[in-house]
Symmetry: C2
Subunit: 136 residues, 2 copies
Amino acid sequence: MNQSTITPEIEKLLKSKNFASIATLMKDGSPQVSITWIDYDGTNILINTAEGRLKTNNVLRDSRVAIVVSEEGNPYNSVNIRGKVIEYDTSEADEHIDKLAKQYFGLDKYPKQSPDEKRIILKIKPEKVFHMKPPS
Amino acid sequence: MNQSTITPEIEKLLKSKNFASIATLMKDGSPQVSITWIDYDGTNILINTAEGRLKTNNVLRDSRVAIVVSEEGNPYNSVNIRGKVIEYDTSEADEHIDKLAKQYFGLDKYPKQSPDEKRIILKIKPEKVFHMKPPS
């Protein structure tokens, strides 16, 4: 197992109803961090956001990101990931946000979609992965 | 109210049993993020960590950090903060980790203290503060 392996335990963290924090870089190189929904397609981590948002603008300038996800109700089980945004997908982003709305809100359709906002999936390749487990 | 105001609502988020994600900068300028306990002294945000840890080494090189804290059980109530580490305090760090152990674990003494590890409080001055509230 190398440092970028997504184990089944980590995959479960990424695909359950857990919240992620994603760190991106501002124009001056300082860090920014925000809370987001998260998904995993078996290879890359998926963050569904919108064009024009702070983190979208940041990753279009510098693709390097860091993510931490902890298990809801068990925050000492968490995974720290560093990687890069390798693809920006707008074509499937509307269907994908509805899928996440089902997962996180139990709704068939994402309720907050603004007609002025274009959704985008950031596909993130994990390069360094650390699983922090609760003390046993 | 300016962009760096810690309102009473935000202070409550920072001083309750909520978990923070703190982003720091690696040597190559890429972001790193990890989950941590958090405290607030009325002026600065306090993160209690240890010498030699990744985030400690990172902030000693570049003091710029970002933090996000969400309310346990209500993750859509969160605060995003950007700022700088302005002080490194080892003198009160052992007492402070015991105080946090009480708050987070309900224990009188931090149970994981290693004799080889020197605790340190990172005092972070908030410069940009954004409170994200759940839809009403």
